[in-house]
Amino acid sequence: MTSDVLINEKIKVWAFFDETPVNGTSIFPIAVSWRRRLIRLDKLIFSSSRRVGHEKILGLVCRGENANYELEYNTSTHSWRMRKVMSTE
């Protein structure tokens, strides 16, 4: 199996919204505040979306300095979760 670490914790995210979608999304996370650490994100690797009833949840995989992070953004509640941390090697 892969060595991903499942986190599933609420987090704070700084993001900007752009009119021009890249990789199917217009939301670009820039930094994450998680467990009293500020993690800078430099690239959006992948995005996907799923629906739970009327709620649309975006899954965003971003590249950080030491790892890749899978974030989840709930477009109804505007809340963010850290889903997974994935090693880069």
């Binding site: 892969t2 199917g24 996907s48 799923r50 739970v52 009833g53 009327h54 890749n68 880069t88």
Partner: protein
């Protein structure tokens, strides 16, 4: 007429595995096997790198590890695959409204009428590849076959795996066909292949040498001409746009359990769960059915029963009650697989409204339950019988068997 058509067949390469490699760059360039869920033992998809090591879809994890012990196993994420599929379809349908969603990772596009608007078929093909990378992800790739009919377009796509592109014109049809195995083309399955084998026909040149009356006498009035045309690369079948998909004829759900189920209550809960999903799907399509089928499998015990009712139903509880009656004669030791089918569907609006007040109450209750589940998600409200169980939730399958249901939003958006 046929020479004027231009059909594209676009096929996402090693779809599930490539999607996982796109989402997790660490997996890129490595042999990856996709399993249904953690603990499952069958590979439902493999990456390009795994295929090069002889690891194929359908192999057990045990077999795969014999080929390459360090294969990376990743549980499938069907929400992710479905989302990519919709984005893929959205790309394809911009080039022509005549776009057929063939499976989760394959589309046929008839660009006969729209080709010149986009600067020719090669431009369209390269643009699809480019847009797939920019709109879905840089690791995503597709193979594209272009020809004057569906048969040859699909055949072309399968000949140039991994980001390939091929155009088969009328002159090169025989040359391409003769390089292929008989059962490697659309419309010639293993059954027909075996039958042809018994007649000593094991390649396309031999099939082409068979006169039409000979094929008709051996394969009947349908398959005879079909094979005759196939050997010559002739296929007049239209590309069926998702706009004109026929209504579903059946709904159903199958599930293989993680462990053997011995207890009666556990088996009944599994059946109920699948019945609820099948019935909910029918209701969402505003349909009801009157053919009910159930399949149960244990170690060596394959059980299949069905019944055609006089009345239509779309209630999970009614479906479950009928399934229970059908399984009264089942004497297996345990269950590992269960499948439910509700077929002979018709539109709910054609059916009479219930007369009895108890039936009306039940219908209102189901309607309320559906409304809650539509807002809060599947199984936000569910029958008490399923309390305390790990609920099996709806998910898309590779063949996109329920595309009539899942493509509804595309049809309505145009």
């Amino acid at each position: 007429m046929e020479s004027q058509r231009i059909i594209l067949h676009v096929d996402l390469n090693s779809f599930f595995a490539t999607a996982e490699q796109q989402a997790n760059p660490k997996l890129r360039g490595k042999p990856v096997g996709i399993i249904k869920a953690t603990g499952r033992t069958c590979l439902i998809a493999t990456s390009v790198e795994a295929k090069k090591l002889g690891i194929k879809t359908g192999m057990s994890v045990h077999e795969a590890k014999k080929n390459y012990a360090k294969i990376i196993l990743v549980p499938a994420d069907f929400d992710k695959y479905e989302d990519i599929t919709f984005r893929f379809i959205n790309i394809c349908k911009t080039y022509s409204p005549v776009c057929e969603v063939f499976s989760l990772d394959e589309c046929f596009i008839d660009i006969t009428e729209s080709e010149r608007l986009f600067g020719g078929f090669l431009n369209i093909a390269f643009e699809i590849k480019e847009r797939l990378r920019s709109e879905v992800g840089e690791w995503m790739s597709c193979s594209i076959g272009i020809s004057h009919n569906r048969l040859l377009a699909k055949l072309g796509g399968s000949l140039v795996k991994y980001d390939g592109l091929i155009y088969i014109d009328k002159k090169s049809v025989f040359e391409v066909l003769d390089k292929c195995e008989l059962t490697g083309v659309l419309g010639l399955g293993h059954g027909l292949g075996r039958h042809l084998g018994t007649l000593g026909i094991d390649n396309f040149p031999k099939l082409r040498n068979c006169p039409l009356p000979y094929l008709i006498s051996n394969f009947g009035p349908f398959w005879g001409p079909h094979l005759y045309n196939l050997a010559r690369g002739i296929d007049g079948s239209p590309v069926n746009s998702f706009h004109s998909l026929a209504d579903a004829k059946s709904v159903g759900r199958t599930y293989t359990t993680h462990r053997n189920l011995y207890k009666k209550e556990e088996i009944e809960r599994l059946i109920r769960n699948l019945c609820e999903e099948a019935a909910a799907k029918a209701r969402r399509m505003k349909m009801a059915g009157r053919y009910v089928g159930i399949a149960l499998r244990g170690a060596e015990n394959h059980f299949w029963r069905h019944i055609t009712l006089k009345h239509y139903l779309d209630d999970g509880r009614d479906l479950f009650d009928i399934c229970l009656r059908l399984t009264e004669t089942w004497r297996g030791e345990y269950v590992r697989f269960c499948g439910i089918t509700l077929s002979m569907l018709t539109k709910k609006e054609y059916l009479p409204t219930p007369l009895l007040s108890s039936d009306l109450r039940r219908e209102k209750l189901i309607d309320a339950m559906d409304k809650v589940n539509l807002v809060w998600g599947d199984y936000a409200v569910y029958p008490a019988q399923l309390l305390g169980t790990n609920i099996i939730r709806p998910e898309v399958n590779g063949y996109f068997g329920d595309k009539t249901f899942r493509l509804n939003f595309l049809r309505s958006s145009g």
